[in-house]
């Protein structure tokens, strides 16, 4: 469980600041999720259709995909806000497919934070605990314990001096942290986050990302986060699950799916600018990332190709200056592709250029099925 929050002394001491990371409890983390043959459709369009998927306990798993890929539906099915038409969901080995949201060991952070506008921060955070205590009847959590836990978690998130405020008196970042606090305070093994960063402005978002990662480390629970932003997915997740049209495209660590995208879709979806895809002479598709290309001569005559890679030639159509790098969008024999150079590299529109992509950076896909070869 999320024992990190049982640190009242240190939290009180360092009120208002994020406390030093406490020792993570080494006990096996809980919150492993198994989905089996889960299916859900809205009308005739299938929203989610997953033969099997598992989210390991203690991971920060990011569900990512373009809008409408079913990632939110999947998250809401885990939460219990939607019920699958078929299949089963297990958390820590228990079938919770039919359990009520409050009883399945999950907490959730909503995209718009969904703070109760009429309640103070403390009341927002404590709402779930108070209800839990009420439902438990005798032997419930005492009031003092509730308020202590609320205080602790708010301290952890730097909200210690905002307990009496109402949501409308808080900044966007503070609201997000209240939403997190509300989810964390209940110490559920699984924390679901539905696009938690999309309502923050750009500057805050980078900071919030780091905070989330730290929080995950400290809390040692299972986090399942939904985002449509591939960069966010790669930077946040310990596991990334790429979905498209309700189906699983690939799941793995960020490195795995970055290095070995399982298919054309994943390859194109990850990275900005997107991977170049061109057809090669053997009827396969070749992919490479713009940053992986080595310029073979921009002004000088081309050097001879080596075995260690593939050479592409094309004419520069548009150039883009992106700080320390410069992008060149080219039109080649097999179609358009892009390449990234150091900023100092002189590239002019209309110029013919050749690039070498090392063999290790080349990805091969089947032209028909799009699967990795």
């Amino acid at each position: 469980m999320t024992d990190v929050m049982r640190q009242p002394e240190s939290a009180a001491r360092e009120r208002g600041r994020v406390p030093t990371p406490p020792a993570v409890v080494a006990a096996a983390p809980s919150g492993g999720i198994e989905l089996r043959s889960v299916r859900k459709s809205f009308g005739s369009t299938p929203a989610v259709d997953l033969p099997a998927l598992s989210v390991p306990a203690g991971s920060l798993t990011v569900l990512v995909g373009p809008s409408g890929c079913g990632k939110s539906t999947l998250l809401r099915m885990i939460a219990g806000l939607e019920t699958p038409e078929a299949g089963h969901i297990h958390i820590d080995g228990q079938d919770i497919t039919a359990a009520r949201p409050g009883e399945r060991g999950v907490a959730m952070v909503f995209q718009d934070f969904a703070l109760y506008p009429h309640m103070t921060v403390a009341a927002n955070v404590g709402f779930g605990l108070v209800l839990e205590a009420k439902h438990a009847g005798r032997g419930a959590l005492p009031r003092a314990e509730i308020s202590r836990r609320v205080r602790d978690v708010c301290d952890l998130l730097g909200l210690g001096d905002k307990l009496g405020r109402r949501p409308r008196e808080l900044s966007g970042g503070e609201r997000q942290r209240v939403a997190l606090a509300r989810a964390l305070v209940r110490r559920k093994p699984v924390l679901l986050l539905d696009e938690p960063l999309s309502n923050l402005d750009a500057g805050l978002r980078a900071q919030a990302r780091a905070e989330l990662i730290r929080l995950h480390r400290e809390v040692a629970g299972t986090f399942v986060l939904v985002t449509h932003d591939q960069a966010e997915a790669l930077s946040l997740g310990t596991r990334v699950v790429v979905l498209r049209a309700g189906r699983l495209e690939q799941a793995g660590t960020p490195e795995e799916i970055w290095r070995c995208p399982a298919n054309l879709f994943v390859a194109r979806f990850l990275g900005s600018p997107a991977m170049n895809i061109v057809a090669d002479s053997r009827g396969r598709l070749l992919g490479w990332r713009p940053a992986d290309a080595i310029a073979l001569g921009v002004t000088s005559p081309p050097a001879a190709p080596t075995d260690a890679g593939e050479v592409f030639e094309g004419e520069v159509d548009v150039t883009e200056f992106v700080g320390d790098r410069r992008m060149a969008h080219c039109v080649g024999d097999h179609g358009p592709w892009s390449v990234e150079f150091p900023a100092a590299t002189p590239v002019a529109v209309g110029q013919r250029i050749r690039v070498l992509v090392p063999a290790g950076s080349l990805h091969h896909f089947d032209a028909q099925t799009g699967t990795r070869l």
């Binding site: 809205f42 598992s54 991971s59 019920t83 038409e85 078929a86 299949g87 497919t97 990334v240 793995g252």
Partner: protein, 319 residues
């Protein structure tokens, strides 16, 4: 390797539980029923069962006491040939036409005026305007009757002092319906001013400031900014008020003129009431109820269509 894995294993052996009821996911089974049961029961008992009963009664000859007799559409035939009913229909149309501007334009103008210059005085005005709404209609009726007493009421006394002939007001068939409308609109103006004020308060003041910065005059602001945003509430409230007005007119007619003098203040609602509770001709009353309901429904549909058209036409100005 991956904690999250795509397992090649096929579908789990346990057959998928079928909790779904239909295409749109699963709901708690009892929840919605329990919460809406009181409303559904209320509507069924006090609206829909009576409605069907009225439909049946319209085919009967029945005075509530002696056994009913089936007479087919005879009641409808008699009703549609009844001059009193024709007159009541025209008179109702007249009331609606008189009420509509008083229920929309006047309160809207008042609401906008009060809204453009918010403050204590405006709040006071709004409060005073709302006052007639909560006055008991019976007291309201008594007041108007007393003030408009043709022989010695204060109105005609003042008119006489000014050398003007005082009309017979409620005794004069051409004035009586006007007085009824005046008595009724007191309430409607107050209520709608407040309702329009509420709609206005939802408009962002900054749009008005922006318009002012752009050099728009108050009139232009009203025309382009406010009017565009208020068309829907105005139209809907106008509609609602025509419905309510029918009831409030009915009350005033029942209290003050009983349809007279000479049928001048009659309307379909009062006519229905007369058939039902003065003449105890339940069948004809029920037939009138059916005819009126069909008429109101038709009017409602027409107004809805008209609103759709107005909104469509005004969409570009809304910006």
């Amino acid at each position: 390797m991956a904690g999250v894995t795509l397992e090649p294993t096929p579908v789990s052996p346990t057959p998928p539980a079928p909790p779904a009821q239909g295409g749109c996911g699963v709901r708690a089974r009892s929840g919605p029923w329990v919460y809406s049961a009181p409303a559904i029961l209320s509507l069924a008992t006090w609206v829909y069962v009576p409605m069907v009963a009225t439909g049946v009664a319209s085919l009967l000859d029945w005075d509530l006491i002696t056994p009913a007799r089936y007479v087919g559409v005879a009641n409808y035939r008699r009703l549609l040939a009844d001059h009193d009913f024709h007159r009541a229909i025209w008179q109702t149309g007249w009331y609606v036409l008189m009420m509509l501007p008083l229920a929309t334009v006047v309160p809207l103008a008042l609401a906008i005026t009060l809204w453009l210059r918010p403050g204590r005085v405006s709040s006071l005005y709004r409060a005073l305007l709302f006052l007639p709404v909560v006055l008991a209609p019976a007291a309201n009726a008594v007041s108007w009757q007393f003030v408009l007493n043709p022989l010695q009421g204060i109105t005609n006394t003042v008119l006489a002092d000014l050398g003007l002939p005082g009309p017979g007001w409620l005794n004069d068939p051409s004035w009586a319906p006007v007085v009824i409308v005046a008595m009724t609109t007191g309430k409607i103006i107050g209520l709608n001013t407040l309702l329009f004020s509420a709609s206005l308060s939802a408009i962002d003041q900054s749009t008005i400031e922006a318009a002012r910065v752009d050099g728009a005059t108050s009139w232009e602001i009203v025309r382009h900014v406010i009017a565009a945003q208020l068309i829907r509430p105005v139209a809907l409230l106008g509609l609602l008020c025509v419905l309510l007005a029918g009831q409030w007119v009915f009350t005033n007619v029942a209290l003050v003129t009983q349809g007279g003098p000479n049928g001048a203040t009659d309307n379909v609602y009062y006519r229905l009431y007369t058939y039902a509770f003065t003449f105890f001709d339940t069948g004809t009353a029920a037939a009138a109820a059916v005819v009126i309901t069909v008429g109101v429904a038709a009017g409602y549909v027409l107004v809805r269509l008209a609103i759709g058209r107005v909104r469509h036409a005004d969409a570009p100005t809304a910006g």
